[in-house]
């Protein structure tokens, strides 16, 4: 069979045969193929708007082509694009610098705790915020961080500091973004590292213990090196997602007073595109973002494969 399949015509025939033989598998797969075609590949048709001037009455097809006009507006004019681009990168970098190590450190501490029930309870508590929406958390943090009645400012003023408007002061808003997103995701983020920690061979610790290595030295020479592959893969993923600075979070936490420091690519597309109906310009901004993001993912894949691990595709 295999040797016959190599010649052209027979190959086509045998493919048809194989499809027929497994027709029930395709019956099962069909809804998914249809859904992905419509809802993920369908929108690609509308991407042409980035090169057209959208007119509502004439639709996507009837709107006139304008070439690179919207990209020129985006890059050169006084549009807010560069401010928004800078905000996206800066906020993402803050998330990476402070948010990335947080679950690793927490996982290492979890790993050291001896009391099993105590450990399980604290773990469960720390996973919970992952399952709440940013709408709910906006309500929660609005109350907790309120400058007048919030508990955080109550503690700050009791300690002799000035009260801080965390959600309204441009100086503190990015800090608030990073802190609240760490709060939401730190626990959930430990799971993958805990799985890696659990797979470390216990004999290694035993041998090190016999050699006189204390807990600290064991962590340094056994635990850390053994989770390093997972850490580096997670880090590369984080980097490749640098243009996603937390749309859900920012859209629910920000307001005009902090747009200057918090408006990111996604919120800009949402605000200017949907609210001000500038469909073509924001399609261009979205396309720019998605192309860069794709290139970064492909680069990531390349790096991972180069390092000898299984790639993404």
């Amino acid at each position: 069979m295999a040797s016959l399949a190599r010649s052209g015509k027979l190959h086509a025939e045998s493919r048809w045969k194989r499809y027929k033989k497994h027709k029930y598998l395709f019956v099962l797969l069909l809804p998914a193929l249809f859904w992905y075609s419509v809802f993920h590949y369908g929108p690609l048709y509308g991407v042409q708007l980035a090169f057209k001037d959208f007119r509502v009455l004439e639709g996507i097809n009837g709107s006139p082509w304008v070439g690179w006009k919207h990209f020129e507006t985006m890059f050169t004019s006084t549009s807010q694009f560069w401010r928004v681009f800078r905000n996206t990168i800066v906020i993402s970098l803050y998330h990476i610098i402070f948010g990335f190590p947080a679950p690793i450190i927490l996982a290492l501490i979890f790993n050291e705790i001896r009391g099993k029930i105590f450990k399980r309870v604290t773990q469960s508590i720390s996973y919970l915020p992952h399952f709440l929406s940013w709408v709910i958390l906006a309500g929660l943090f609005g109350t907790i961080l309120s400058p007048s009645t919030g508990i955080v400012n109550y503690i700050l003023t009791a300690l002799g500091f000035d009260s801080i408007y965390f959600l309204g002061d441009p100086h503190y808003f990015r800090f608030t973004l990073v802190a609240t997103s760490i709060w939401k995701e730190i626990g959930w983020g430990t799971i993958i590292y805990l799985a890696a920690l659990a797979s470390v061979n216990p004999n290694l610790y035993e041998a090190a213990g016999i050699d006189g290595a204390g807990r600290w030295k064991q962590t340094l020479h056994i635990t850390l090196p053994s989770i390093l592959p997972v850490v580096s893969i997670m880090f590369i993923f984080k980097i490749s997602g640098i243009l996603d600075a937390g749309f859900d979070q920012i859209l629910n936490l920000y307001h005009p007073a902090v747009y200057g420091v918090a408006d990111i690519l996604d919120t800009y597309v949402f605000r200017v595109g949907l609210s001000q109906m500038q469909y073509s310009l924001t399609t261009a901004v979205g396309l720019f973002k998605n192309v860069i993001a794709l290139l970064m993912v492909l680069g990531t894949d390349y790096v991972i494969k180069k390092s000898g691990q299984e790639g993404l595709f």
């Binding site: 497994h22 509308g46 996973y127 709910i136 979205g286």
Partner: protein
């Protein structure tokens, strides 16, 4: 156990435990705070400081919250979306994950790539918006369900799980003349209960929590969901009906916007917090399976 530890290790254990208690307080306190506010009288609610439990108890905020007709529409639509959406979503994802798990699926690599690629590239917000509108889903309850029916991440985890099921188990059913569809539902599914539980929970939580599509695709006030209702109170600071309900004699207020917001927040969060402790292990399960397989 304790006696075998060196002094430094003992101190570290004490530090670690104290640290974990501190962290737990950081996670739990905000919920207690909002719960206490929701059950407080106005005078108590505006007091700055620690709120662990209401010192002057009042159920008024909840009474006002449920007097709004919008919250009932919200409940109806949210429950519809969560129940119907989760059922459909899990059903179609199971259907799709099975063929993708089979090495003998012709052009398997192409079909897998076709689906995985969508995780890394999309047409963007505006083209998607125009498409969904063009499909006639605007202001329809189905817009809550259909555009979010597949989660590629869940689909891949499901597929990984199916790959791990020994082929021999299916072979005997095949000898008896069962086709792939029968085998999936009578042989494979019964073996997959834990992962199905995880996928179901994730789908339910995401249908319960989803707010963005509700924000951009639905105008009809009888079709709102709870997340949007809460968002209006918290983020947009507006709800005319509630404000009318709250119009009270000056000096005799029984609720404040803060206590009502807190009550609505608690109503929406409660279902998740209540089921969470019982189903906790299923929530986590899939991530473990997904990460260990890699």
């Amino acid at each position: 156990m304790f006696s075998r530890m060196t002094n430094g290790e003992k101190w570290f254990q004490i530090f670690a435990v104290l640290f974990m208690i501190g962290i737990s307080i950081l996670f739990v306190y905000p919920f207690l705070h909002v719960l206490a506010i929701s059950l407080s009288t106005p005078a108590e609610a505006i007091r700055a400081g620690v709120h662990l439990y209401p010192q002057e108890f009042s159920f008024e905020a909840y009474r006002k919250a449920v007097a709004s007709s919008q919250i009932w529409y919200g409940f109806r639509n949210t429950i519809f979306r969560t129940v119907v959406g989760t059922a459909l979503s899990v059903f179609v994802m199971v259907m799709a994950a099975y063929p993708l798990s089979k090495k003998y699926l012709p052009d398997r690599r192409f079909f897998t790539l076709f689906i995985v690629f969508t995780m890394f590239f999309s047409g963007g917000l505006i083209p998607t918006y125009l498409l969904v509108k063009g499909l006639g889903l605007y202001d329809s309850l189905w817009v809550y369900i259909i555009p979010s029916m597949f989660s590629t991440f869940s689909l891949l985890i499901l597929r990984n799980f199916f790959i791990g099921i020994p082929q021999e188990l299916e072979d005997s059913a095949r000898m008896d003349g069962a086709n792939d569809i029968r085998i999936l539902f009578s042989v494979v599914l019964p073996l997959s209960a834990p992962i199905i539980a995880t996928i179901t929970l994730w789908a339910a939580v995401s249908y319960w929590n989803e707010w963005f599509q509700a924000l951009i695709y639905v105008q009809d006030q009888t079709k709102i969901v709870l997340q949007i209702y809460l968002r209006r109170l918290v983020v947009e600071n507006q709800d005319m009906e509630l404000r009318m309900l709250m119009s009270q004699q000056p000096g005799q207020e029984t609720v404040t916007p803060e206590t009502v917001k807190a009550a609505v927040l608690m109503i929406i969060t409660a279902p998740i917090i209540i089921v969470y402790p019982f189903l906790q292990k299923y929530f986590v399960n899939g991530v473990m399976i997904g990460s260990l397989k890699e």
